[in-house]
Symmetry: C3
Subunit: 177 residues, 3 copies
């Protein structure tokens, strides 16, 4: 389908760069709506507010599934040609993986390998976190390393990679918008 | 005028990415000089030095107005076809708005709405602050959120949006340079 | 040579953005291998691991020289038409310069001026560190300023400037890849 989604899309961007909204727009233009796979857990008030705001913005043509850790299983189970999946976001998933004591490198390899031959398109949203001053804190440094490696691995695997700034996309890989 | 400025330009970039200098160059190429609307206040020695360095770099064809908060009033008052306004910078203005206890979302909406039908071109300079590790500090997180939303809103409103890195511009929206 | 390297290349990117690997690929495509000029010193276990991982990734067609401070002397001494030099990285060099009590602005000017008429191509890798929340810490702020100014100066001097995100390059200056 012209204007349709490729099998794997990756949307990179900073905090509040408009990357989730771009993902929603791409999916709504292609299929009206889709499955929103949220990796966030509403553990505090700030996060609850963010999740509610995201949910309110999306229309009734979206279904929501929450999964902090085992996203590949959810993707494989729910993939369908007419209902794209939006994974929002990869960075938070990685943070959950590390908090659960799992190896982030292994988890990213398993995810990338498992994206072969899916029944429908997936759009990943991911934070770019490595462009500030390198953190003094060793854990923050390890996290930025893991997030950067995950973004590289998914970008390699993706058919199209976009970078958003102030809500405006740049195409890093694949067909122009 | 060919090579002239569109009504609203937004220049995004990191700390010391050359965004103010790019704004000055665009204005000097189009009109020789302009009005520099500084949102910084010289509260400490470091800031005084930065302001003095900026002022020394600009030639005598520039006039300077300092306004930490009510920039829309200054823009409306000073807009003129032959003297572009450089607002440097939006991020610091937003920080002043928050420090004054005003609602940043409301302030950004008022600003964007007030830019209709100005008598002359305006160039906004703004920091991209959301591409590092997400801050542990809740206030820094709230500020990065507000700054990202402001950049999105102004980008939507702008005729041309540029992103600078190492002094080199990328065009995100509008006519190529 | 078509596909060959220009005299000076600058590759910008965040932490774990794939910039070193891109530099290696450009050099291997052009000349099979080259001289790796490492500005890192193995002062702790984390850094030792990083250096070892970098070294293991490069093949036997690379030679390594370690120099934390006087990189211009090494570049001038080792420049050769058939063996490009990879300087990895400029940001760490700048941090070493500041830690040694030298003036970073002066050091960058001396480096830029000394790159005239070299006997062979050089590829600089440098971190973009100014796109996160502006640090509360004055030293971190001064470092981000110095790094931004260094990137601007080298970008001005370079024949080609690339920006990497998730391993994917954007051309900011010079010939497309």
């Amino acid at each position: 389908m012209d204007g349709g989604l490729p099998p794997i899309t990756l949307i990179l961007g900073g905090q509040r760069s408009g990357k989730s909204r771009l993902a929603e727009t791409l999916i709504e233009d292609a299929a009206g709506g889709g499955l929103y796979l949220a990796t966030a857990e509403a553990r505090d008030g700030e996060m609850t507010d963010r999740i509610a705001a995201h949910r309110a913005r999306r229309g009734p043509d979206w279904e929501t599934v929450e999964e902090p850790l085992d996203i590949l299983e959810q993707i494989v189970e729910h993939a369908a040609p007419d209902r794209p999946i939006l994974v929002d976001c990869l960075t938070l998933w990685l943070s959950n993986v590390m908090a659960a004591g799992r190896d982030p490198g292994r988890a990213v390899e398993d995810l990338a390998a498992g994206l072969e031959g899916l029944a429908g398109p997936v759009v990943f949203v991911s934070n770019e976190v490595g462009l500030g001053v390198i953190p003094a804190n060793a854990l923050a440094r390890a996290f930025a390393d893991a997030a950067g490696i995950a973004n590289q691995r998914l970008a390699q695997r993706a058919d199209r990679v976009l970078f958003t700034a102030a809500g405006l996309p740049m195409v890093l890989k694949g067909r122009p918008l």
